[in-house]
């Protein structure tokens, strides 16, 4: 669990894995869901499959919904 305070909205979020890892990767190099899924799997040393891409795509949308990430 990672505790995150979003200053612009004044709102606090608890983020469960793999969201903190996703944010860390995006902070290093912004990218889309497919590439992010591959990088996340690589970082966690797990094989990348469709399920991982689905998870990353959906979680990315959730992060966008609360304003922590936005599409370029």
């Amino acid at each position: 669990m990672t505790l995150l305070y979003h200053k612009p909205s004044g709102v606090t979020h608890f983020l469960a894995s793999p969201l903190p890892e996703m944010l860390a990767l995006l902070r290093e190099v912004p990218c889309g869901a497919d590439i992010l899924a591959e990088r996340l799997c690589h970082r966690l040393a797990i094989p990348c499959n469709d399920e991982a891409v689905t998870v990353v795509t959906e979680r990315l949308a959730e992060l966008a919904a609360i304003g922590l990430v936005h599409s370029a």
Binding site: G10, T12, F14, A16, T54, V55, R59, E62
Partner: protein
């Protein structure tokens, strides 16, 4: 697209796997994989906590505080913010209309005066507002002003 979500393949031992911090590398990988899968299966990954009484910024600036509250409207406000009988030394009658959140915010943060009132009066009013506690009229508005929203 969401077909995978319905599969009953999540293993019940996931939680205990997550707890094992110093597990061997293989178990670690397994637990990470489970963790990723667990997130896919509909568990909340984000829990958002909002300041209890803070509302949208617009509504915060819309609220007003009567000084003093309606039940004690005949009282005057002393410079330290306490309520006293009228004509007491160093005290002032309350403002004729409730104070606006935006003005209160400025008064608290920048020590500005309320429109139409002297700095001594304004300071007494602000001190009164700062003394408001949970359950008293105007407290919710005061709390909203202090919370980031």
């Amino acid at each position: 697209m969401h077909g995978e979500d319905g599969q009953p393949e999540d293993r019940p031992d996931v939680a205990s796997d997550i707890g094992s911090v110093e597990a061997p590398s293989r178990a670690q990988k397994s637990s990470r994989r489970d963790l990723l899968r667990l997130s896919a299966l509909g568990g909340a990954a984000i829990i958002t906590i909002r300041p209890g009484m803070a509302q949208a910024a617009a509504s915060v600036n819309m609220c007003t505080i009567a000084v003093p509250d309606a039940a004690r409207s005949t009282k005057w406000i002393k410079s330290d913010g306490t309520l006293v009988s009228k004509n007491t030394a160093n005290s002032y009658p309350g403002p004729t209309s409730p104070l606006k959140a935006a003005d209160i915010k400025n008064a608290i943060n920048y020590n500005t005066s309320y429109p139409g009132y002297t700095s001594a009066q304004s300071s007494a009013y602000t001190n009164y507002i700062k003394k408001l506690t949970q359950g008293t009229a105007g407290f919710t508005c005061f709390a909203s002003i202090q919370n980031p929203a």
